[in-house]
Amino acid sequence: MFPAKDTPTSLSNNNQERVVFPRAPDFSHAREAIVLSTDRSVALGAVDLHKSYGATKANRGISLSVMRGEIHAIVGENGAGKSTLMRMLQGVERPDSGHVVIADKPVVLNGPAEALALSIGMVHQEFMLAPDLTLLENLVLGEEPVTRQLGPLSRIDWAKALREGQGLAESIGAQIDWQRRTSSVPVHILQFVEIIRLLRRGCNVLILDEPTAVLAPPQVEELFDLLRNLRANGTTILFISHKIGEVMALADQVTVIRQGKTVFHSTIAETTGPEIASHIVRDAPPLETSPPPSRTVTGEPVLELDGLSARSLEKSQSLDNISLQVRAGEILGIAGVSGNGQGELAECIAGLRDTSAGNIILQGADITGETTLARRNRGLAYVSADRRHEGLTTAASIETNVIAGSHRAPPITRGGILSRKNLRQEASKRLAALKVVFGKVTDPADSLSGGNQQKLVFARESADNPKLMIASQPTRGVDLNGIAAIHGLLRDFRDQGGAVLLASEELDELIALSDRVVVIFEGRLVGEVTSPAGAMAQIGQMMVQGDAA
């Protein structure tokens, strides 16, 4: 039943380390792990999981015991091995060695369907809901209640489906209008629907992959209440996050993963946030969490928006009469719940989205009708929120990514001929200046870690001495080291007289970096906070309600 892989002979091919300590293919480790934890039963666990992709050892010894009826948090940096672990727990991947434990028993999972059959359900970051169906249709999709079993002629019993949905929603304290079209529903409700859908299928263990990444603070609270209700009903929750504050607020237990290994485990009661942080990243510079000293910005206005409006295209948020000013030496933060127009605003300024009214003035020149190229030549830099699709071309080489946009300028192109040598030199120079860690300049940008990808974007965007930097979600999906570096870059740029328009869904980040914060809600600016420090609650309220009341 269990893979012969566990024998030392077959391991010797790919892993020297493990040959040194051969062990019998028994489950003593599993038992040990269970016994060590507590005397209650393990709903979901892992014993010494190893998984390699080619030369990359994604997991190299992860053990985990999620007790029934508890909320267990897994924290770790991007690239620490969390997603590989999830894939194995869910049966998408099979471990090279080690075992997944479900309900106290080691199991071999051959796919997500088997995990589901064992009551393990996963809520992904990207929801698996069909946008054009109603919530109710999505709820029952794939397992519809029928009036009578007539094979393909069966009729769906919608009344029963609705009763089931309402019952489940009530039991976890959620209010859901089941007849609404999925595409018109806020994200946190979609998350609830995903959860209820799994509950309906009999899942009693839920894995949530960074569920708060897309939520505004009040929505996070709603989600947490719901998760606590679930726990009270006996559901076990594995909660993946990189936000220590959330872990402290919600979880019963925490396991820290670093570089593919389990490095720390504790109950929440017995640990502290700083302790967890110290395990997540051993050599991280301390994040500057204290707000910056209040500065007086006296620089000239670099960017002025005057009544800027844009129409909604393909479900994007429209913009309505936005006026603001960013001065040299200033970081202006834009706070807002995802989807309220901060991305669209950044695109309008970068020349990637048509405006319908108003003016964009860059260093005194009206650039409203200009092309992106003309704007960039005037000193505009743009760090896209969508790093993987707009900030980078992941399939293209690192050098291509860091040069694109400057490829027509000398010394790279002279007399119509593009010099690969000069291109490479310039690329290396840019990458070195921002200390981007990479293999070869010809490797695809995809080969870089999230933080280094974003550093690459900054290396490109800051190369031509820009005057204004539009930074949209600059640290999304970036590890702690990378975040510190990027924050440093933005501060340095500001301190050298640059103007920054910073859009971020991380309120902590906005407050830590910004000299001023404006709040965008449904495409309108609804408020401004001139000293962001300590104004978290005020900003959060405006983000959700659209006013400061």
């Binding site: 092309t371 707009e390 071309t393 119509g416 593009l418 010099s419 490109r460």
Partner: protein, 347 residues
């Protein structure tokens, strides 16, 4: 670089091997010895200098159509209109080749080639601008333009340009002075093959050493990114369409002045479409394109002449070609998937 050549060779060899297996099974079923047939195909393709020349001759139009296709595919522009540009370019060159005075001599070469390139460029400029400015799907527009090209050239050779000496659908022969010289007489391999190689090399240079080629490759991978770094996507699209038309037109001229010496019905038996398969098989890489063109050239020339020496029907060669093309279409699927994803991302 050498490893990339190796991997590209595998990219072409693998489909070939699979198609040989498939056709081998077919041969066994119809009671032939596959090894005999394959060795016959091999000798008929490359067995001696004359057969090699015949293969290269058959590969010549494919070099042009494959490059013309690759220019666009590489940039994510799904231009299937190379066939049409090849036809109109070929007819333009041939028309001038028999109407201009023969006394103009060698001056006819640049004139005919230029005219063909110009017509080809205009031909594909139209769908290019429709795509860039009005988002008219280029697959549909270029496909329709192929039908129009067939209709127009068909009308002209069946009517106004019909050779008075002929009851058939052919134009008069071009002046002999405008024949492209043959490289290995008596084989029909002509200087157009060298022009084709120059086009391939120029394409390789364009991809790597020109800013326009750099931009083409980028918009092919990621339009949103390209836009964000200041590249004009519409201009690049129109640019690659024009370039594609120029190459296809030159290819038509080379075929008309080197091979056919006239225009006729059947001037192109679908070189544009075979060129698509070649470009896809060769992964838009210059070396891959040359190898792919030679492969399809070999199948076309040997596939015909083996009928002289065994009673293998043309259908068998079509099976080999078809299986190789299926692999090319797998690649096509990947491209269209990328297109879809690209659109989704843009939305």
């Amino acid at each position: 670089m050498s490893s990339s050549i190796a991997s590209r060779s595998i990219g072409i060899l693998l489909p070939l091997v699979v198609s040989l297996i498939v056709s081998g099974v077919v041969l066994l079923v119809i009671g032939k010895n596959p090894l005999d047939v394959f060795s016959l195909i091999a000798t008929e393709s490359f067995g001696n200098a004359r057969r090699i020349a015949a293969t290269l001759s058959a590969a010549t139009p494919l070099l042009f159509t494959a490059v013309a296709t690759a220019v666009c595919f590489r940039s994510g522009v799904f231009n299937v209109g190379v066939e049409g540009a090849f036809l109109v370019g070929g007819l333009a060159a041939v028309f001038l080749g028999f109407t201009l005075p023969a006394a103009w001599g060698f001056a006819l070469f640049p004139i005919c080639f230029f005219a063909a390139a110009l017509i080809g460029a205009i031909w594909l400029y139209v769908p290019g601008i429709l795509l860039a400015k009005f988002e008219v799907d280029e697959v549909v527009s270029t496909l329709m333009l192929n039908f129009i090209a067939v209709a127009i050239t068909g009308y002209l050779v069946n009517g106004p340009l019909l050779s008075p000496l002929s009851g058939n659908n052919v134009t008069p022969l071009i002046h002999e002075v405008a024949y492209l010289p043959r490289l290995m007489p008596p084989s029909t391999l002509h200087a157009g093959f060298l022009i084709g190689l120059v086009c391939v090399a120029a394409y390789g240079f364009w991809c790597r050493y020109t800013p326009a080629g750099f931009e083409g490759g980028l918009i092919g991978l990621n339009q949103r990114f390209s836009r964000a770094v200041g590249i004009s996507v519409p201009r690049t699209i129109v640019g690659v369409m024009i370039l594609s038309g120029v190459i296809a037109g030159i290819g038509g001229a080379a075929h008309g002045m080197g091979q056919m010496h006239r225009f006729s019905d059947g001037f192109s038996p679908g070189y544009g479409f075979t060129g698509m398969a070649v470009a896809l098989l060769g992964r838009n890489h210059p070396i891959g394109i040359v190898l792919g063109a030679i492969l399809f050239g070999a199948l076309a020339s040997a596939g015909t002449t083996i009928q002289l020496f065994s009673n293998i029907p043309l259908d068998l060669v079509n099976i080999i070609q078809g299986t190789v093309m299926i692999f090319a279409v797998v690649e096509l699927g990947r491209i269209s998937l990328r297109r879809k994803k690209g659109t989704a991302n843009a939305g």
